[in-house]
């Protein structure tokens, strides 16, 4: 039961976080919004002028925009799929008793600690490179033609790299959830003659739903801003085959130094991200309400 005093104290203690985040959000956002209506190229100072919605028109009619939207969606959904399904499978596996459980768990979580730039560089050069990469060497040893991962299937390759980094995270959360499952309930079901599959479907899966929701929410937040992996491996190409929305904004603002265009792109990305956020919150809200 909260008293008047503690309510006031609560507000007081909440305020630093809220005010700081508000400032962190509003100030750059306001500047970005302002820039987005300017013709403003960093390389041509002194030419800034008001252009109304020109930057937005250009960004939204950019032939790469639609591709970027699709690619973003494919990347996020692809990684979520691999990590949640793979995470559940791994969690089930690691939950079984076996020798060296601790060590295997250490091995499995390791990719989560690797910097995105490092993992992208390593995958690109040491593994996916069609001449000197490990996969190419393996293919050649088997008498096959090496597969040009980043040239032929750039988005899929990037999805794999990102999924490798996030799989441990999903596994850990799902494993924790699995371990909190009441073992008596499972044993009772087993006694009743429920098959392993039906135990999984009717007891474990519903129990994991909440954890999976959290995995999806947290990952989506990070995945929407996937950037380093694309920059390092394919630069968004070939063509626009692996250009995501974030990357497109990067191209505008830091490759063309078109601050106005980049700002407009940034605003578009923020709006889209918020649509996703609202959608997610609906979903999460339902799942997380006590």
């Amino acid at each position: 039961m909260a008293t008047q005093a503690s309510r006031a104290a609560g507000r007081l203690m909440l305020s630093p976080a809220v005010i700081l985040l508000l400032a962190w959000m509003i100030v750059p956002l306001a500047m970005t919004l302002y820039f987005s209506f300017l013709r403003y190229n960093l390389l041509m100072p002194g030419m800034e002028e008001w252009t109304g919605f020109d930057n937005y028109t250009y960004f939204l009619t950019d032939p790469a925009f639609f591709d970027a939207l699709t690619n973003t969606l494919l990347l996020v959904v692809g990684v979520l799929l691999i990590t949640t399904v793979g995470g559940i499978a791994l969690a089930l596996l690691l939950d079984q008793p076996f020798w060296g459980q601790g060590i295997v768990r250490v091995l499995v979580i390791a990719p989560f600690f690797v910097m995105p730039t490092v993992s992208a560089l390593v995958w690109k050069n040491m593994f996916m490179n069609p001449v000197n990469g490990l996969f190419a060497h393996l293919a050649k040893a088997l008498g096959l033609q090496p597969y040009d991962f980043l040239g032929v299937a750039p988005l899929f390759s990037i999805t794999l790299i990102v999924a490798w980094q996030w799989l441990p995270f999903a596994t850990l959360i799902l494993l924790t959830a699995l371990q909190s499952l009441d073992s008596e309930q499972l044993e009772a079901a087993e006694m009743d003659g429920a098959s392993a599959l039906s135990r999984f479907r009717h007891i474990m899966l519903p129990h994991l739903a909440r954890a999976a929701t959290v995995v999806i929410l947290i990952q989506t937040i990070f995945l929407l801003s996937t950037f380093a992996e694309i920059l390092v491996t394919t630069n968004g190409g070939p063509g626009t085959a692996s250009t995501t929305l974030t990357y497109l904004v990067y191209v505008q603002s830091l490759l063309q130094f078109d601050v106005g265009g980049g700002a407009a792109g940034g605003i578009v990305a923020v709006i889209l991200a918020n649509i996703v956020a609202i959608f997610l919150m609906r979903m999460i809200g339902r799942n997380l309400e006590t």
Binding site: L43, Y58, P63, V131, P146, D148, G151, G237
Partner: protein
């Protein structure tokens, strides 16, 4: 654990004191290319000559560096005192008044010794805005042994037709020997540097005199078709992701018959410590199509001082040291003449010792053969051989490069790539106000 941390903190504190005791620290931003890395190893000489100046290095990969440095100078962030920039940036930035003029470097620096082709590109209205650290053009590097096996002789000035013939004869995919390696990785400084230079020799140009993009013309079509033909038939797998470095690695491992790329690569491919084919490399001028222009570019990495720097004198001392004749002599003494940063000074090419280096003359000839003010057959409104010296070019060049890279990867056809290139260039040029 605690001990180490304390020791580390201690070391840091000592380091901080040491820098505080001396007069000035300048921050130098540079590319992680071999010649720059070598310079960092030779800093003892500079410190000896200028004990009052400390140099902090920021070494980054080319694209990251360009982005960082451009952001900084355009916003007047003032994080760097010396910048490593290309011939593309110098005229644009010089015109903006972002760079400090280097006209007042001391007489013994001998600015007149700088190769005219390079120097012209760095001078705007009589002011020298950057000092070249190394200069390059492009040329054909080929495997003499494979050429002999194929029963062919590389002329000193080959044609594109000969290149194709030789590539076909040298290719042996079973043994992972690919007749020709060319850049395919998208980027205005990667595949577009090569393709624009190649297109020049085919008589193609980026823009006509009214700034109308020309990708819908026959010349570009012929360029791209021949390029794709060469690469698809005789090139290595995964070429759409190969830039300079990837091709260098391939050539050093003996997997390329020919490689048309930067002249600086010559010192890497002939270096026995890194290259398995060091003693089997020949050089030739970049190919032509009989139209009077060769497909070679002109580039230099230069040191420049941003106008906002608080330490202009110290920065100038550093720039003068790094691009001086003495520095060339120093590298020659420590690492041999073949490793001297090439392509900047006339005196270097007049030096009998340097003339013994196998690629010296070919490099000089290639550099002299490139003319940034008249890069192609027809007249153009822009300056630059393998680039167009306007601020918008980075973005446009890279976007067009993406299209051509996609064509190489086989995801779009040559026609589609050219059509998209034409459209997107038109769009950007309209946006920038060059054309209505």
């Amino acid at each position: 654990m605690t001990m180490t941390i304390r020791a580390l903190l201690g070391a840091c504190a000592v380091g901080a004191l040491a820098t505080a005791a001396t007069a000035e620290t300048i921050t130098v931003a540079t590319v992680n290319n071999g010649d720059m890395i070598r310079m960092q190893g030779l800093m003892a000489d500079f410190e000896e000559k200028h004990p009052d100046i400390d140099v902090e290095w920021v070494t980054l990969e080319e694209n990251v560096l360009r982005q960082r440095v451009t952001t900084d100078i355009a916003t007047k962030g003032g994080q760097y005192d010396v910048l490593t920039i290309g011939t593309y940036e110098v005229p644009i930035w010089g015109k903006q008044g972002w760079l400090v003029s280097l006209n007042d470097l001391p007489a013994e620096y001998d600015a007149d010794d700088i190769l005219p082709a390079i120097r012209n590109g760095l001078t705007i209205d009589g002011e020298l805005y950057a000092a070249p650290f190394y200069g390059e053009s492009s040329m054909v590097m080929y495997r003499t042994d494979l050429m002999e096996q194929a029963g062919l002789t590389m002329p000193e000035a080959p044609t594109w037709d000969f290149i194709k013939e030789a590539a076909a004869a040298m290719t042996d995919k079973q043994n992972e020997v690919y007749g020709i390696c060319l850049r395919g990785k998208a980027g205005w400084g990667e595949n577009m540097a090569f393709l624009t230079a190649m297109a020049n020799s085919y008589g193609a140009r980026w823009f006509d005199m009214d700034w109308q993009p020309q990708f819908d013309g026959e010349a570009w079509k012929a360029t791209l078709t021949d390029y794709l033909d060469l690469m698809n038939n005789y090139g290595p797998p995964g070429a759409a992701n190969n830039g300079f470095n990837e091709n260098l690695a391939l050539f050093q491992q003996g997997k390329c018959g020919m490689w048309i790329d930067a002249t600086v690569a010559a010192s890497f491919v002939t270096n026995a410590a890194e290259s398995t084919v060091a003693d089997k490399v020949g050089f030739a001028l970049a190919p032509d199509k009989g139209l009077g222009k060769r497909g070679n570019w002109l580039w230099a990495w230069n040191l420049a001082i941003p106008a906002g720097s608080q330490k202009v004198d110290a920065a100038k001392a550093f720039v003068a040291w790094a691009t001086s004749k003495d520095y060339l002599a120093l590298v020659a003494e420590e690492e041999g003449w073949a490793n001297v940063p090439p392509g900047t000074r006339t005196s270097l090419y007049e030096n009998p010792e340097y003339q013994k280096v196998p690629f010296a003359n070919m490099t000089l000839e290639s550099i002299n053969a490139a003319d940034p003010t008249a890069p192609t057959v027809d007249e153009v409104p822009y300056v630059g051989v393998q680039f167009v010296a306007i601020p918008e070019f980075q973005g446009i060049g890279t976007a067009v490069g993406q299209q051509f890279s996609a064509a190489l990867a086989g995801t779009v056809s040559a026609e589609q790539a050219l059509q998209s290139a034409q459209q997107l260039t038109e769009r950007e040029m309209k946006k920038a106000g060059y054309i209505k």
